[in-house]
Amino acid sequence: MRRLTYGQAISEATVQCMEADPSIFVAGIGVDDFKGIFGTTAEAFRRFGPARVFDIPNGENAMTGIAIGAAAVGKRPLVVHPRNDFMFLCMDQLFNLAAKWRYMFGDRGGVPIVFRGIVGRGWGQGATHSQSLQALFAHFPGLSVGLPATPADAKGLLVSALQGSGPVVLLENRALYELEGEVPEGLEAVPFGQGKVVRAGTDITIVGISLMAYEAARAAEILLQHNVSAEVIDLRSVRPLDAAIIVRSLRKTGRLVVADTSWALCGVSAEVAAIAAEKAWPYLKAPVRRVTPPDCPAPVSRPLEDAFHPNPSTIAQACLDVLKAGTPLGAGVADVQATFAGPY
């Protein structure tokens, strides 16, 4: 199969979906500029022009409402946020209206809107440009929330979102944009609510999302040196959340480490741990461990930033702690963004 980067896969999904469905339009700050949102909207703008790919004034909350109003009469807006941190400004429209639309207006149909939010990582982007908001979005009934970790899933989840019937939030980690992988050429949808076993194993289950699914796979490589066979699960979406795939894996391994790009308290890692406690208790042989950023905002200074984000070494060490307490990990691997210097 031919290979694309994560960013190229998003671009291709956008263009192909827009070709197939004239009701789709793309709106966001800078979607039509020379950068084209890291190249993900540039080709769509070249093909479909300003009638269907257009820049907007600032005003995230209004733009969200505008997308709702367009979707209410048959459009399919794709709204892009170059940083998901700006989506705090649209929470009222997103949670109080888009997510509730179908339910509170009597189940006459939802508002099919796709919100792409990019999560920054590296080069000291700091507290307001490198946090990942999945726990917040996942809390509200009526939204679908996806966090693709591979180029194929970046395309497939976006296709699924653009063909769906309700509002969707897709969070894309900037650290994944240059990642290459095999991507189907056609419009193949990846359904929400289906996790994926990235790598089979027998000793311990590592559940990750977004960048942490990728990092968990790298952790599994390290663990081989310690004769540990880790099974890695990429949840791919957190609402709906695939509980069954977690339970199936725990039946086999009996041990769980959860890695998340966001904080532990009330986070997705807490939800996964709750699933283990409620639905897989008989299989658990050890306490669940979570690997998450520490309880502080993302810092800027390099040593602090390196220490802030979970990485393959911290994930692998957590696995060793569960399996063989006291065993030091030894050498780790380079940070995923070690050579990153922009564009942000």
């Binding site: 009469v73 207006f105 009597g106």
Partner: protein
């Protein structure tokens, strides 16, 4: 304007008043378990604006949405059943008084958070433009919404994209119990602030249905003709409490004299006197409007009370 349509404006106001006064009388019995914001006293804005619209134009409203819903042609039985929490309600008992909708009549949505549907109406108007359709979208909101950030974001966007939207601000002088003069600078009126974004904006007597209607016709023609958004500030007054059916002039935030002065300016009395003096209607014709509306609302209440509640098994239906 034809005699017939002027009579219709009065008839629509009488009907909305009969509906709401009936619901206000029944409300204390406790069967309508939904916080209800009555439009009594403010009917002329809804009726004057909606009278200038086509059936295939659309309206959006906020928490005080009954009059807009009914004036645009929203189904009365669906509204009453919604207040009674029945499966036959316009939102199947999931939305309540503040989330009325009837898309078939062009009432796309109402919502209780200030300013939400301003932006949503602009999005619908944008879609109309993108599709080359000549419909107009209207959003009704109160003076309180002017203080929200989304008010400014929305006006800015609407002007930049020249979308066919009509902003209708019902300035009733209060945000809940707080007067306008302690919330907004008195030196700059609401319509002047809207005009500063670069769109035509008019101040209209919101208790004069004929004045509202004339202004709305101009605004709708402007928007439908592709000239972009239009803003109407309509001054009016809420008679009953902010939420609920009671009178509240004894609560200290306003006086009975103030309420009485506005009741003396009742939009229905004003329109009735005008049409009587011009010989357009007779007193018996106007009385008949009230009787017909009363029968209609009584039947809607009876139908709602006889209808089933939603099944509890369906509690979570419609979330995705």
């Amino acid at each position: 304007m034809t005699t017939d349509s002027r009579e219709n404006l009065l008839r629509d106001m009488v009907r909305i008043r009969r509906v709401e006064e009936t619901l206000a009388e029944l409300y204390p019995s406790g069967e309508m378990r939904t916080p209800t914001h009555f439009s009594i006293g403010q009917e002329a804005v809804a009726v004057g604006v909606c009278g200038a619209l086509r059936r295939d134009d659309v309206v959006y409203s906020g928490h005080r949405c009954h009059a807009h819903y009914l004036a645009k042609g929203g189904d009365l039985r669906g509204m009453v059943a919604e207040l009674y929490g029945r499966e036959t309600g316009c939102a199947r008992g999931r939305g309540g008084s503040v989330h009325l909708n009837d898309p078939a009549a062009g009432v796309i949505a109402s919502s209780a958070i200030l300013g939400q549907t301003m932006a949503v109406a602009v999005g619908t108007a944008l879609a109309f433009t993108m599709d080359g359709r000549d419909h107009v979208a209207v959003t009704f909101f109160g003076d309180g919404t002017v203080e929200e950030g989304i008010f400014h974001e929305t006006l800015n966007f609407a002007v930049m994209r020249r979308v066919p939207v009509l902003f209708v601000c019902e300035n009733n002088g209060f945000s809940t119990h707080t007067r306008l003069d302690v919330r907004q600078p008195a030196s700059v009126s609401i319509h002047a602030r809207a005009a500063s974004y670069g769109m035509p904006a008019r101040l209209v007597d919101g208790n004069d249905v004929f004045a509202v209607h004339a202004a709305a016709r101009e605004a709708v023609a402007h928007a439908r003709g592709g000239a972009g958004p239009f803003f109407l500030e309509c001054t009016t007054y809420r008679w009953r409490e902010h939420v609920g059916p009671q009178w509240d002039y004894d609560k200290g935030y306003r006086t009975k004299a103030e309420v009485d002065a506005w009741i003396a300016r009742c939009p229905i009395r004003h329109a009735s006197e005008r049409l009587l003096s011009e010989g357009v209607c007779t007193p018996s014709q106007i009385a008949a409007m009230g009787r017909a509306s009363q029968i209609e609302v009584d039947e809607a209440v009876a139908a709602a009370r006889a209808a089933s509640f939603p099944a509890v098994e369906d509690l979570t239906l419609g979330t995705v």
